[in-house]
């Protein structure tokens, strides 16, 4: 009996099926807990799923490379999902066309602030180059952020974790930060949440109002685009100044 169980385990552990199924199950558990808690930001479904999977992999002594052979089928969908972001972007674009110039000003200011502050603080506190490059796109939605990290010499999987943590922080404290600095305009509140903390911030903005949600979704898409243009330039310049 033991021998048979062992044989089945050896077979399953080597096939992509097991880890693909585990990924979906862990996510469903995370999503269930998130909904059950009334969508508490701290019980982020991705965070829960990652914690479960890392625990199981460490306990069963399975390497990340073996796990990824199964999980790559889910990971692959990030590409088409990024392309699909064009749909909400197009919808919001139609709705907010008239404040185009104001949006462009806020987009440039916000995108540059996010990039410069994250990289300079991490650099000043002694983080190595690959880590600084990994935190640079932290405000951008994960599929785009990971692509950017790869382009500029960061570690995409480290970026994914930092992006999710940024989203959680922004959605928890964003509205009180905005109230404290005197931003009472719903458009501006939504735009700031989406630009700084992407999809998780957008979920929070939708709780504020529908207008804030629309501006947040727009900001998330635009900042993905702006950061993928600005980050390579900025990191190239910083590399010359900070690591000569």
């Amino acid at each position: 009996m033991m021998a048979a169980t062992r044989e089945i385990w050896v077979y399953l552990a080597a096939s992509p099926l097991l880890h693909l199924t585990m990924t979906l199950v862990a996510y469903l558990v995370g999503d269930y807990l998130f909904r059950k808690s009334g969508q508490k930001a701290l019980l982020n479904p991705v965070l829960i799923a990652v914690a479960i999977l890392v625990g199981v992999l460490l306990a069963t002594e399975v390497s990340y490379a073996t796990y990824f052979e199964g999980a790559q089928f889910v990971h692959f969908l990030l590409g088409p999902a990024t392309v699909a972001l064009a749909v909400p972007l197009y919808r919001q674009f139609e709705r907010v066309r008239h404040s185009g110039v104001a949006i462009l000003v806020a987009l440039l200011a916000g995108s540059l602030t996010a990039l410069l502050s994250a990289t300079l603080i991490a650099w000043a506190l002694g983080a190595p180059q690959a880590v600084v490059a990994s935190i640079a796109p932290k405000s951008v939605t994960t599929p785009i952020a990971m692509g950017i990290a790869e382009q500029i010499g960061g570690l995409p999987s480290l970026t994914a974790v930092l992006v999710i943590l940024t989203g959680i922080f922004g959605s928890m404290f964003g509205t009180s930060i905005l109230a404290r600095v005197g931003v009472h305009d719903a458009d501006a509140q939504g735009f700031a949440l989406g630009l700084a903390s992407h999809g998780i911030g957008t979920a929070r903005a939708l709780q504020v109002s529908e207008v804030a949600g629309a501006f947040s979704a727009l900001a998330m898409g635009l900042n993905g685009l702006a950061t993928s243009l600005l980050a390579p330039l900025l990191v190239h310049l910083l590399r010359q100044w900070l690591w000569p």
């Binding site: 890392v54 999902a81 405000s139 480290l158 501006a188 685009l225």
Partner: protein, 126 residues
Amino acid sequence: MNNRVILTFTILLACQLAGEVITLLLHLSVPGPVVGMVILFCALLVRGHVPADVAAVSGELLQNLSLLFVPAGVGVMLHARLLADNWQALSLALVLSTIVTIAVTGLMLQWAKQRPARHAKEGENQ
């Protein structure tokens, strides 16, 4: 799995493929899927509306967007050492940068919206 799912996925993958090819040919530093997103966005602008099938399937895909981050997130186990060594730099950079970004972005949009005439002029000069 009906035809509209396959059709929409073909559109999404074709845009991504075109994006990857353009990125490689022009040596762009923008990720291929982002170029694919711009291509689809332009196609929607030309078309003037989102076809119902594309709207339904991409909506479905984006509703479950967070699942797609899980495999990459598990990669944190590869960087446990890096995170432990740099936790101060990373947590301070993350928290301070997010606070400043939210404040600057919100204030800028609120300020720029209150001065529509001036910005319309600036826009013309550009």
